[in-house]
Amino acid sequence: MSQSQTAERRARPFPPEAPAIVLDHVNKWYGTMHVLRDVSMNVAQKERVVVCGPSGSGKSTMIRCINRLEIHQEGRIVVDGTELSDDLRALDTIRREVGMVFQSFNLFPHLTILQNLTLAPIWVRKMPKAEAEELAMNYLRRVKIPEQANKYPGQLSGGQQQRVAIARALCMKPKIMLFDEPTSALDPEMIKEVLDTMIELAESGMTMVCVTHEMGFARRVADRVVFMDRGEIVESGTPERMFEHPETDRLKGFLSQILRGH
């Protein structure tokens, strides 16, 4: 992407009236441990947010609250206009619209790649099998591994598995994609293929929230970077502003550690 395109993307206004995700004073405890402290954040439609922070900062917990893999105890979370609650129907609606990619892929090892992809469209979306398979092959081509369709996850490399996991989430045609450290479990030589897939997805206009330490990825696609530490959002802004002019000492410390690590 050229510099001018990037500038254009940055300048694109996000309509404030219809955010894709709203987190409003969200609090969560594990026992006595306060893991999310008054977290408030809006994600606009088609916005791409990268969440970073040291381990144990609550970033994974926050993203997992968005599709209720974790349950928050205080505050409101509204996804695509539906508030998360104990209402199972609301939860079903939200999970259909929100795709998730995990650090450890979590493909279903007893199903072939194709079956992994068609399972949810067939059973949740009630799509006919042939149609679901066509859709799945389309996405496999998009992540560039259509030839692996009839293999089992255990026969694929980590990078391939993660691309399958992305394709699996996309088969549900989600409006929002959540990525929970998608490249952290990968060998270095496989990180690029997964990031390329994610960049392509970002450029297609998907709403994305991505927990990652890949700063290159953040610079390239993120509209906004959110820095979390000890359960709270410390600072947020455009990647350029965040990485080049960090305001808080905590972000400065984090960035210096990240850079030392690379």
């Binding site: 599709n67 893999l69 079903d92 999970r95 259909r96 929100v98 795709g99 998730m100 995990f102 450890s104 979590n106 493909l107 279903f108 090892p109 007893h110 399972l119 949810a120 059973w123 949740v124 089992y152 996850p153 255990g154 026969q155 699996r168 989430a169 549900m172």
Partner: protein, 389 residues
């Protein structure tokens, strides 16, 4: 034999440095096939040779005596007197040196079919064949389709029809007269066919986080049933249960024992299944949740296929245990295979030949149990092949 051999190199090498021996082994093993292996492991030293020869002599001696007893000196049939009584003098004479298989040729129908009317015993015989056919069909993955349920229902209906009769010109045979192998197969087949699904529900219930009442019920069920011996459950089913039933309601004895067996087996199987559920990585549940699958879709498509595969060995272990435990129904007077065998021994002429009867019973039980274990190993291999790296 290799067990003894592994011990001997220790005294032999205790004085010397051990390294050359290891070297020697590594080179010797692939070199010369079974002979080299035997020389190294069985005749490695004079002490090892002595143990090998001593044990070898014992095995040969026992083997020869077993063959003599079971085949060469065995009495295969005995004459009958005018009133049809077996004349067992030949067997009595051979006692200790030869088996009396004549008791089997004389009593095999009693052992296999119990007190089922003699002329009608072709009916339970067909039932046994149907049961075995049903097992074979169910074992083939080719038949793992919806139709299999239909095959089961039809087969079981036909078995019921044959055993009871009373229609199509078949004489009615009350359940009190059933016995032998069909009873054992009925108890085992229905027992496992019903207890397995029940155990899955109990295991799922016990892990439920959203339904505490269901969870409590499942915990209570498992702990209560597991805490008492099967025999006491069978007694309860046979003696106490009728006391609680209203006047005139009478559930037959086999059915009551069957229910007791189902409940007992389900409690054990539930814990095995729960082990599989716990062994499944949390990420599998989360991935299924994130895709929007409902609880039952997640359980049926993702969780159970993987969890049950993980616990095939302990599952089959429990299956085999319960197949044999069905023999406990003899204490409440149900004529299963084992009790039929005991009845066969009650005739005065045959009383002293229990060994032969029990050997035959053991062989029958072994055949079924070994088939189960062999099949499960094959299944593990087959299911494991696809997912292994």
């Amino acid at each position: 034999m290799s067990g003894t051999a592994q011990i001997d190199p220790v005294p032999a090498t205790a004085g010397a440095t051990p390294a050359p021996v290891i070297e020697e082994r590594r080179h010797a093993a692939p070199a010369g096939g079974p002979w080299a292996w035997a020389r190294l492991n069985l005749f490695g030293s004079w002490w090892s040779t002595a143990v090998t020869l001593g044990l070898g002599a014992l095995i040969v001696l026992w083997g020869v005596r077993l063959v003599e007893w079971a085949f060469i000196n065995a009495v295969w049939s005995v004459p009958y007197n005018a009133s049809g009584q077996p004349q067992t003098a030949a067997c009595q004479e051979a006692r200790g040196v030869g088996a009396c298989w004549a008791i089997i040729t004389d009593k095999y129908r009693l052992i296999l079919f119990g007190r089922y009317p003699y002329e009608e015993q072709w009916r339970p015989a067909i039932c046994i064949a149907l049961f075995i056919g049903l097992y074979v069909v169910s074992a083939m993955r080719r038949f793992w389709r919806r139709e299999l349920v239909l095959i089961w229902l039809v087969t079981l209906a036909v078995i019921g029809l044959l055993m009871w009769g009373g229609v199509l010109g078949l004489a009615f045979v009350p359940q009190d007269s059933w016995g032998g192998l069909p009873i054992t197969l009925i108890l085992a087949t229905f027992g496992l066919a019903f207890s397995f699904p029940l155990s899955i529900l109990v295991a799922l219930g016990r892990r439920s986080t959203k339904l505490p009442a269901v969870k409590l019920l499942c915990v209570l069920y498992v702990e209560l049933i597991r805490g008492v011996p099967l025999i006491s459950l069978l007694f309860m089913a046979s003696v106490m249960f009728p006391l609680f039933m209203p006047e005139g309601v009478n559930i037959d004895k086999v059915l009551r024992a069957q229910i007791a067996i189902i409940l007992f087996a389900a409690a054990y199987l539930a814990e095995v299944v729960r082990g599989g559920l716990q062994a499944l990585p949390k990420g599998q549940y989360e991935a299924a949740d994130a895709l929007g699958l409902t609880y039952w879709q997640k359980t049926g498509k993702i969780v159970l296929p993987q969890a049950l595969r993980l616990v095939i060995p302990p599952l089959v272990n429990t299956f085999i245990g319960f197949f044999k435990d069905t023999s406990l129904v003899l204490i409440i007077g149900i004529f299963d295979l084992l009790l039929s065998g005991k009845i066969a021994l009650s005739e005065p002429a045959w009383q002293s030949f229990s060994t032969e009867i029990y050997i035959v019973l053991a062989v029958i039980y072994f055949a079924f149990c070994f088939a189960m274990s062999k099949y499960s190993r094959g299944l593990e291999r087959e299911l494991g092949r696809a997912t292994r790296r």
